[in-house]
């Protein structure tokens, strides 16, 4: 890998000043960035280590839960408040990566992780995300793992995180610190679709820092389920994943949240299906109907046509589990 400088500022101000410089890159757990640097996919001049910042806490707030950006994936997954109030998030986190990686990976870093599209990783192949203008290797190539929603001519890669699928379903908010102040962004607005600028994964500006996420209280804890369908039982990216959360009262769905992973360049929230579920009885038939609705607009490529079938089946399955019908 290219030689680089490394700094570890003592405070937030120092971090913000450092990342305003060109060629810098934030490092937290490093579980994805270091790989990318070894592969020559990313070659920062300077790493800004943010591990001295006091952003590790998970704490209750008036309307929900605050999770610091440096909270470890394993820490969040095991946190009692998370497990009690937002079991969906805990389930999604433990479905991701391996225990060793979860012990290193942070919440902010998880949000910033990059696609595992093989064309992005191999510098000898074309990729508009890595090298804009070189073309999309996956579109006519090996695209078994790729998108069926929201892709563009330039890029058909998928977002790799499990945690983010749950956070998108749970209406989380991202807390962002810039040099000019703080801003809040809906989690579902954090990641981007590829459009004509696939090199941009999200809407975080170069000189901004994620400080945490907030999850509002909800009534889904009793009925939520994270389903991850994958080629092996652990340490594999999702073919399809579904975050399903239901508020069921007297057998009727009062409210619902649904998001899918492994299908798009960002966590894919299924709002039309959510609307359809509201007010309906919590039955497999309802779930199947919602799943069909969710698939509107899906389009497959050479190797991933199976997702058109696996995705609705997985939505139904996840909802069935969430409702406690299995």
């Amino acid at each position: 890998m290219k030689q680089f400088q490394y700094v570890r500022p003592a405070n937030q101000q120092g971090v913000l000043a450092a990342i305003a410089q060109p060629g810098t890159k934030i490092i937290a757990g490093g579980s994805n960035l270091v790989d990318l640097m070894k592969h020559g996919v990313m070659a920062p001049d300077k790493l800004v280590d943010i591990n001295k910042l006091p952003l590790r806490n998970i704490s209750g707030i008036s309307n929900g839960l605050h999770i610091g950006a440096l909270a470890l994936n394993s820490q969040v997954a095991e946190d009692q408040q998370v497990k009690t109030k937002f079991p969906l998030l805990s389930q999604a986190l433990t479905a991701g990566a391996s225990a060793q990686l979860r012990n290193m990976a942070t919440v902010g870093g998880n949000m910033m992780q990059r696609t595992r599209c093989p064309y992005f990783y191999d510098t000898a192949m074309p990729c508009n995300k890595r090298a804009p203008g070189t073309g999309c290797g996956a579109k006519e190539g090996f695209n078994r793992m790729h998108a069926i929603f929201g892709f563009s001519d330039k890029c058909i890669a998928v977002h790799p995180s499990d945690m983010c699928i749950a956070l998108a379903a749970l209406d989380a908010t991202v807390l962002i610190q810039g040099r000019k102040g703080t801003r809040h962004l809906k989690f579902t607005d954090f990641h981007r679709l590829p459009g004509t600028t696939p090199e941009l994964d999200n809407n975080l500006a170069k000189d901004e820092l994620i400080t945490g996420v907030e999850i509002p209280n909800n009534n889904f804890a009793q009925h939520s389920y994270y389903l991850k369908v994958r080629d092996r039982a652990s340490y594999a990216f999702a073919l399809i994943s579904v975050a399903a959360a239901l508020d069921i009262q007297n057998g009727i769905i009062k409210d619902a949240r649904l998001a899918m992973g492994g299908v798009a360049h960002k966590p894919w929230r299924l709002t039309t299906a959510e609307q359809l579920l509201k007010g309906k009885p919590a039955t497999v038939a309802t779930f199947e109907q919602a799943a069909q609705t969710a698939m509107q607009g899906a389009k497959a490529f050479k190797d991933n046509a199976f997702k058109l079938q696996m995705a609705p089946a997985s939505i139904t399955e996840a909802l069935t589990h969430a409702a406690g019908l299995v």
Binding site: P118, G141, R232, A233, S234, A236, F306, E317
Partner: protein
């Protein structure tokens, strides 16, 4: 009375602990890349990004100027490897063509082929400098997709690969029940934990010390000696520990020769460790193989015709061959049998043997086809196999030295609960999952080669055994210690030392082909017997069978007593067919909506003679079963044929099973000795532990779902709809 007692065999005991277990778990065991030599330098390759063509220009200036760089070698400046000039082949064993010779000219034969080699004072600096090498190429059209050139496959030269015919296999006129099916095994890549690594250190102009990841120190010694025109004794090769190999360290590969060449040129020791992605492009793989099986049978399940054809890939520059179709000739009693084996060149690096080589590929097809026939006949798959059991070898008419395949069927069936299997697929559901049972058998030749062992009784009472064999993780040191302790019954295991992995020791063959326990074990046995006799002669008549060796040496005033014995199989073996057998049973569950397959239970039964070292044998069986599950459900090296490059050349995307995929695996042993093969009555186990497993899984998936997947791996997408 139990059969074991009838045969006068002690029941299977736990056996001794792994003799190198403590060294391994504490990190004290040193693997090739872990050795340090003063003045070490580090080699990193720059690799071709095209698949076929020529190097137009190669610019190494920036790399040469990079910090810490000692040299950059390309075809323009690399010194000649002397053995390359005369055609003396440093690496074996192509049956045609020859191995790649690095840096001899500007041709590119496959993607990922090294085009430059940087030597620097640290691995990191060498890696960075290698990224600065800029090559321009003249591209030529390439073909890496074997499935597109199956029609160009040809029969390899030599009698071993000629079409085989017994009876009239192609006469289908009066065959009541027929089955024809095609099967595909994709590229599987060995991916052992330990990466390929070599340290080359010239200690004099004509003398060399090498620490190498190799399955055979003597073969590496000979390969390097030939390549550099040195007397073999001038090349010292050490491989005390090997972190898994599965066949990919059976050969001396071109990059190893390049490291030796570079070390000579820079006059400093060179360490070369391949990266994980380079493993895919450099040290072989199980070749993509298409197969077709035609079976004919009577309505009551007697096989009448069996034709097995295989077409596999090789590289454009050398022929790789393996015994893919061979088991079909003798596995079942069938009067009319034909086998056809062909290979077809594509623009890739050369394949090589991977655990259960050839046979694992062939058994997937044959053992699935037998299952398909059983289904067609509405017959239990074990019953069908028993009805066609070969009592003598149908290929050559010889008796089997021993064969307890029927017993193995029974042991496994009992253990897995085969009676719970429903013959009609998709008829059992539990908790929303489809449940299925499947079985498949494996077979591999059991032989005994030649090995030399030196046995020394030291003055401190330690029995030292020495031979050059490597232990690729299977527990050879443990098994050899066990064998010696059974001859020298008075000596505790802690006083027996087995020294291995060093080319200066008496010669043993390369670790591979399930031969080592038999071959080296036989020599260890014979050496120990000879040493005991030497002691008896020393003591004279009336001596005890368990003398106090320390005292005897002291009394006779000799520092130590040793023998060096070379031994191999006896000629009687030629009158028999000798094989090890395995039968694998699995229970799977398949999710009917998502297609996810989970293995619930595995029972693997080995008929491999007397079990010398029960603990390591059990580990062998478990490891093979896991390898077979990987082959069945997830392993596949995927190439984007437009570019000729792998798209999953890492352990995140090339899937092997993780702990969560693997249930408790029950390893059972028939444990009946075959004394015709060697004095321990032991037969090989490494290959059969994997051979047949992928068919067992595929058959169980069929039983669970009614879906017959004939192209591995059986990923969830193939089970939808």
């Amino acid at each position: 009375m139990k059969q074991q007692e009838l045969l006068n065999i002690p029941p299977l005991t736990e056996g001794i602990d792994r003799v190198d277990g403590r060294l391994k778990v504490t990190g004290a065991a040193k693997y090739a890349a872990e050795f340090e030599v003063p003045g070490m330098t580090y080699a990193v390759f720059a690799n071709s990004t095209i698949t076929k063509g020529t190097i137009k220009t190669i610019d190494t200036k920036a790399a040469e100027r990079a910090p810490g760089v000692l040299a950059v070698f390309t075809y323009l400046n690399a010194p000649k490897v002397p053995g390359y000039q005369t055609g003396g082949d440093p690496s074996k064993p192509p049956s045609g063509g020859g191995p790649l010779k690095l840096f001899v000219d500007n041709t590119v034969k496959y993607n990922g082929q090294p085009v430059a080699m940087v030597i620097a004072d640290s691995f990191e600096r060498a890696t960075y400098a290698a990224s600065l090498v800029k090559a321009e190429y003249t591209k030529e059209p390439h073909q890496t997709d074997t499935s597109k050139v199956l029609d160009k496959a040809a029969t390899p030269k030599g009698p071993r690969f000629a079409d085989y015919k017994r009876g009239t296999p192609d006469d289908w006129q009066s065959v009541p029940v027929k089955l024809e099916a095609e099967y595909v095994v994709p590229i599987d890549v060995h991916n052992p934990m330990e990466l390929s690594a070599i340290i080359a250190h010239w200690t004099a102009d004509d003398k060399l010390t090498v620490y190498d990841k190799t399955q055979g120190v003597k073969s590496t010694q000979n390969a390097i000696a030939q390549a550099f025109k040195l007397p073999p004794d001038n090349v010292q090769v050490t491989a005390k520990f090997v972190g898994g190999a599965f066949g990919n360290a059976l050969r001396t590969w071109p990059h190893e020769i390049a490291a030796v060449m570079a070390a000579k040129q820079v006059k400093r020791p060179v360490k070369l460790v391949l990266t994980r992605d380079m493993q895919f492009y450099t040290v072989g793989y199980r070749p993509y193989t298409w197969q077709k099986i035609n079976i004919g049978a009577t309505a009551d399940g007697k096989l009448t015709n069996l034709v097995h054809e295989a077409r596999a890939q090789t590289s454009s520059f050398e022929e790789f061959t393996e015994g893919t179709v061979n088991m079909t000739r003798f596995m079942y009693a069938c009067p009319n049998v034909g086998t056809i084996y062909k290979i077809t060149p594509v623009d890739v690096n050369t394949p090589t043997w991977m655990r259960g080589p050839g046979e694992a590929t062939g058994a997937f097809a044959l053992e699935c086809a037998i299952d398909e026939l059983a289904d067609k006949l509405n017959m239990d798959p074990i019953e069908l196999r028993v009805r066609n059991h070969a009592d003598t070898d149908p290929e050559n008419g010889k008796p089997f030295s021993t064969k307890y395949l029927k017993e193995a069927y029974q042991m496994g069936a009992d253990k897995i609960g085969w009676q719970n299997r429903k013959s009609k697929p998709r008829s059992v559901q539990e908790d929303g999952w489809l449940i299925g049972y499947g079985m498949g058998s494996g077979v591999f030749g059991a032989g005994r080669g030649r090995a030399t062992v030196k046995a020394t009784m030291q003055s401190d009472g330690v029995l030292l055994l020495q031979t050059s064999v490597t232990d690729i993780g299977v527990g050879t040191g443990t098994a050899m210690t066990q064998i010696a302790s059974e001859v020298f019954t008075g000596i505790p295991v802690s006083k027996i030392k087995f020294e291995l992995g060093d080319s200066s020791l008496p010669p043993s063959p390369t670790q591979g082909g399930s031969m080592i326990t038999s071959t080296v074990g036989g020599a260890v046995h014979d050496a120990c017997v000879a040493l005991k006799e030497k002691f008896q002669q020393l003591i004279g008549n009336g001596g005890t069978d368990k003398p106090d060796y320390i005292q005897v040496l002291k009394d006779k005033n000799i520092p130590q007593l040793d023998v060096t014995i070379t031994s191999s199989g006896n000629s009687e073996m030629r009158n028999f067919s000798s094989y090890s057998y395995s039968v694998h049973f699995v229970q799977v569950k398949v999710h009917p909506k998502t297609g996810v397959v989970r293995i619930n239970k595995v029972v693997s039964v080995a008929d491999s003679g007397h079990i010398v070292s029960p603990k390591t044998a059990r580990s062998q069986v478990i490891g093979g079963a896991i390898g077979g599950i990987g082959m069945a459900l997830m392993e596949e090296g995927v190439i984007d044929h437009r570019f000729g490059r792998y798209v999953n050349a890492d352990l995140a995307n090339y899937h092997v099973p993780v702990h969560a995929d693997i249930p408790h695996i029950e390893a059972l042993f028939v444990n009946k000795p075959d004394y015709k093969v060697n004095p321990m009555g032991a037969k090989g186990m490494g290959e059969i532990a994997l051979i047949g497993m992928s068919a067992a899984v595929a058959n169980a998936v069929y039983n669970a779902t009614g879906k017959r997947v004939r192209e591995l791996p059986i990923t969830p997408d193939k089970l939808l709809g």
